[in-house]
Symmetry: D4
Subunit: 254 residues, 8 copies
């Protein structure tokens, strides 16, 4: 509750329009739905502009079903990430109107058509980075962004990247997804004039250290305008990119 709102509200208490007990409830309002194992953050859209998304990796199918049902009651849009095919099957048995995307490993409740404005480019260095890229793309679309997918343009054959540069430069934000040494990030960063969000992937072996190598590489990029999210975190990159794209669609005040 911001300062002006609160002053208004306290004036209502002073004017007896609101009882102290009601006021207490309001001021201490938890803003969440309580399950046995979770507290669903129902005020998140108000507070951060985005609904809560279910992170499926640490939860059982039963827990996901429970959260989905609670969110459905509150008419919230639903997206769950990191849901394996096996866990998805168990959830779908209970909630068949959800849709599963095996590459992106997401479950979604198909909303009324989401309007998609502004463009986010999702660029990968290799074929093996596509799972992470689809997690990003599906998330970005869920949040109302248009997505351009440009896959397998790593720098070992740099002509592939140059041939797609016009496409990439059309976007308001670029998500670059790369395993190995992550060099694509710096090359793209040096060629565009919009923010680049880098996602290291766990694709590699040996001294790749499950993605630490491209993570470190991206954090030390010689190109400016690059920020980084956790290894394989396609969701986080898309969330961030969506915020930026929405700002570009008319600023935060719209």
């Amino acid at each position: 509750m911001e300062q002006s709102e609160m002053l208004q509200f306290l004036q209502q208490v002073a004017q007896q329009k609101v009882s102290p007990e009601e006021a207490l409830v309001k001021l201490k309002n938890t803003g969440f739905t309580e399950l046995e194992y979770a507290k669903i953050d129902t005020e998140r859209t108000v507070r951060t502009g985005y609904p809560e998304v279910i992170y499926g990796a640490g939860k059982t199918a039963a827990q996901i079903v429970g959260i989905v049902q609670a969110m459905k009651q509150q008419k919230q849009p639903i997206l769950a990430t990191r849901v394996t095919a096996k866990k998805a099957a168990a959830v779908l048995a209970q909630e068949p109107q959800l849709q599963y995307d095996q590459i992106a490993q997401t479950l979604r409740l198909p909303a009324a058509q989401i309007e998609q404005n502004g463009e986010i480019a999702v660029v990968t260095a290799g074929t093996s980075d596509i799972n992470v890229a689809e997690e990003a793309a599906v998330t970005a679309e869920f949040f109302g962004n248009r997505v351009t997918r440009i896959y397998d343009v790593g720098v070992a054959g740099i002509q592939r990247l140059f041939s797609k540069l016009d496409l990439i430069r059309r976007a308001n934000v670029v998500i670059v997804i790369a395993g190995m040494e992550g060099a694509l990030t710096s090359v793209v960063g040096g060629l565009v004039d919009v923010p680049v969000i880098a996602v290291p992937t766990s694709v590699g072996y040996g001294s790749h250290l499950n993605g630490l190598t491209p993570l470190l590489s991206m954090l030390n990029s010689c190109a400016a305008g690059i920020s980084v999210v956790n290894i394989d975190n396609g969701f986080g990159a898309a969330y961030n990119a969506s915020m930026i794209n929405h700002l570009a669609q008319g600023g935060k005040d719209e």
Copy 2:
């Protein structure tokens, strides 16, 4: 050179308006000024929307002077970061019209008044993070952004943060700068609806590992909408924030 431009250009060659030799120079145009020890990227503003900034840490005072002089000839705006007081003195002896900021450790050529639009909040957890914060703030101002400084609001006394929340929420982008365990990032990330750029600092000791601890912490934030730059990289955060703020000022096409 984008596709449509190049077609136009090649048509001029076909029409004899441009000679093959001129065309070669144009197509192979290096877009940089060559010094003995550096190649100044004079086309960067065109390509990425931002002029080149001099990273002072790895260069001698003489090299900085050389680059400054080359940039002055091309009427480029000038900012140098990571310049120690001692190195700055040596540069200023040669280029006295530069201005040195001891906290931010920057050298600037005072341009005609830069118009500053849109707001970037620079938030620190502690007093010791202020050097990095000022590097960010000075850089953001150099690139034409309005900056709100909110320092020493770490979560150990969380009421300090809440009292400044209205200020922070006014910004288009928030830069959160924190050493220790970097927890401020997640708390801010959960309370705002704009992108947060996190800067871990090397402020700490022991298992802090010179900033690796807040870096890892920020990359694993439970709040969405956070992306991360290198330890102590105030410049990079500001560059990134500036790109986002400019998008919010009317999109990339302006």
Copy 3:
């Protein structure tokens, strides 16, 4: 054997009340029961105030059964932690009066009602931290403490935490259990006036490094009053919290 006791004892030897041979046995008294593969520390309660607890992870079902039987003969209370469902089944086949808790992964011999005094709060950041939390809660109850469970109040939706603050502040000790970046620890630490024991969990991915990130984060907390135990070590946190709570119940001399 403390100094005064030993003097008394030696005087008994001098007075021929105790033979040198008996004295030798007493002074060299091993204070443990010897199995082929283990030496059960039967004097631990005397020495540290707590009975030995069986750490199930590195032992076979047969070894656990053997130790349980030896402890039963000595009328010791029995708790085994880190027992998988499969191993538990094998143990229960031999020792059916034990009780298994699948979430906490513990086996217990239901004692005569344990009196539970003073309160320990067990707080988690997320749903996925509940296994570790239950290991802590069950252990704390076994050692005679009252436990308040407060789950899924991570800082991404900080209003959830504030709504439970009264509950948390009622405790003598707070155990904070968090994966991801562990920021909840610092926020709680800044809001309570009792010791906080932090338990990092292995819940996360990528640069989370199986729990090293929240471990480092907690060790570098900007809030004072926090100490840390090993990753996923719910048992250790509860043991420690119990010691503190018992001190608060009337000091160590009771």
Copy 4:
């Protein structure tokens, strides 16, 4: 502000005893004193039971002086840690009534006699750990605890430890401070029935990794009842121990 307080307070607003504007100030009350570079947490004693302590390492002498003066105005007790001899001299030139302890590297404002109740044992493995130990001891005394110092009783000559065991067992909490491999922690932990707070120190070389080795060792102790703070963090250990000792002095409700 807790729930019951707030209800009372809102009733006063309803009864016109407090105006909405006053209420706003109260509810938004920042609880800190704002300097240019710091926000001093003046409500910390109320909230956590302890005054703010100045962490000297990241601050200039001038900043320390400024904070000291602000705290003096509010009649707060003053302790600054990690103050080098050189920085202390600069502070003392401005604030001569402070007292400097060169071994502990602390600055204190000598309060009226602090009553010291209950006992905390500060135990070190070696001579080189004494600096950290004194930081802990001075802090504990500042917070009103009696301190027993037992130095240089590392396990290489374990008879030294046993000869001091009676002394150690008298305390309500034991702080064990060790560099090298930190084995003393486990041995003490197995011999006492009170909480042990372990402080790894940076004393060692080579694979000691500036204290990471004893830190890891202490986190993996085979003895229960041990929790750990950051490398060289004598202050944190004492703060924690003080909280526990105060609980033992009559519980948190006194």
Copy 5:
């Protein structure tokens, strides 16, 4: 396209021999075949002297089949590495003329006899390094080099190495493959007068850290003339060795 070529080409445009549209296609020529999930770099042989090799680890059998078919259409030689027996079976079901090598884990299209010139020695420290060695050997043969295999000559029994020294010294390049501590590399490096390419393997346990130990060891070799590739990267070593051997066969200009 090099400078002289481009001048010629632009002159053809000026002379109307090439239309601007054709020129555009040529200058923007992508040089790759586009599949849904991959962009096959068909110009690689021209650019780097070597055809693209399929890295099988991150790809499904279906993707490998698709790439193989695209490459067959372009008459490219085919080699796929890191193909497990199971994945190979699935590929062979579709493309039965490929040949699988179970030790090297490679799939090949048997070309018309490849001429093999110059000699590369593949030397291993132990029996367990043979898989990596065969990946290297098969790759080197695929690229037209003669390979001498010298296995299990680690330094614990150094007479085994000396007895094979004449064989090793006959080669133009030596690939040394070793797990454990990788000491063989330095000993060989001190005894030959040709480049040594070192391949650390993941053979070992404990502090071997899955190959990081020999990797670090090889990078710090006291012998000169050694360069290093990633852990288990037999392919990369062979590719590199082949380039060197081909230079020795008559230089790059032949």
Copy 6:
């Protein structure tokens, strides 16, 4: 071949007692038996006093059988370590006179009674360290040493260790095997006057880092007289201890 031997030998050549060709064979004598995948070091006993032992972990059952058969032909004593139950079964099907020890994971050819002289103590901190301890014990017995097993005497219940001290002090060398934090090593090291060989084990979790924690701890022991081998390397410790014990049995010259 040592200097005096070689002079003698060259004199025989000069005296025509040995032909140059014979001499060549002798001087270039490889001292190993060559299999396709291995070179068995048949001179190791001469050179180092110990026969080659088969490290089973990186080898197939077929390779182990091949090496066993080659060694049997040369009448060498046979020990294979790190042989899983499954692999052992496959080897035993071919070589039924071998004996398998499931705890130690070793295969042995029962030799004529090996005389066992001098005593090696094998001491473990916990029950879970017994596998490694048995690998050490079986190896030491194979090399002709008497072994005293003292298991589960970790420092959390230090009276268990003291009650066995007489036994431990009887040995010429002590092998201390410990996981967790490895503190037992330092305590034993401070109590005995013979060399201690420390073996860290992978028994632990979280920040134990699969044995790196006790490894680092042991390397930084405050007690002198301790040296360390790789994590879980029971074989290496026993080999080393055997060398020392044999020296104590009459020096190396016997």
Copy 7:
């Protein structure tokens, strides 16, 4: 001594042309000059084709002078690397005919004109990498190679690299030297058809980890044909490149 040589030599012994004593000296010939603190490897040129180079970092000025004098007596060419300006001054006071290069930090004895054949390209990403580059360039020239220097062509402004591509492609070997994230390596590796030797530099900060980041990045390059040497090891890269270039000049047999 190779097999055929040794047979010849033994025949001379049999024919009394060489006495056994002479033979012993020859067969045991140490091939080095013994100083108190060093054994200079005077046979290295014969064995590896290259003279020994003095690594100055770990040696005192006096030790360098001693080694220089011993090498001068044997008419060996002299190069010392990693000699600081201060140490160089002390050496030059004794050996004034040496020449010091302050950027490369080398000392050389100017030989009669060394013939320089074949070309090695030394390419750096930034200005700060020039010290390492000059160490490489001076070393390569010392060993008789022609060197092309191409500095400051990092990928943030990739047009700088493309404008120099013709120059780079002319070389037989390319040394790529880069700090930050080292992405230049992969881009160059994808554009040339000769071996690339990558040298990570310690230029960077924060998560750059003193060069570990580009080291890891280079080891995981998506481009083939790249091998890597230690951080800042310009000498090692040049040594390696020289071996390759010499092979290209006519093979190893010339």
Copy 8:
């Protein structure tokens, strides 16, 4: 006090030959001299066969002087290690009869001639390892061992090692000291039949990680019979070697 001794002693109490009070003192006998900052372990020679050695690194000159004086009073032999030249000067001003060795960085009280029996070989890979080697050599001589120094025989010029092999093989124990990659250890380990104690040194740069690389390398040696001490720990290696050599001189009972 061992069991038989204690029985005897208790019988004396029973027989009134010893009073209970005297017995108490004896049984609780601390066995150390207490200074303010240190407890000197005066029983160490009895318990471990070796006097306490002063580790100078963590102590002030005044503390070293104090300990030296206490030990002189008890007629103990005196050795202090890790004493810098500056600290040594301050100590010598107080205790001029001590002798300082600048290379080994040791202070000694010249005892009556120590008899030196049996031989320990101290072998280094390079010239820069000599400081550590001399710490080892001086320590070994202090403990009554004969020392053979063999320096700068690293494997890059392996003929240097072979020429000294007879010397090395004469010893009862070999200490191998190496920085860089530490390969010398494995080569020596494969050539001798006595225990090898490996000492990694901090000599190296970049990925050498201040000695972690040779440490890991030595722990993973393919040669058996090797155990390892901490980086640069010449003292520890010598202490260990001395124990072994003394066993070889006639067993532990002499």
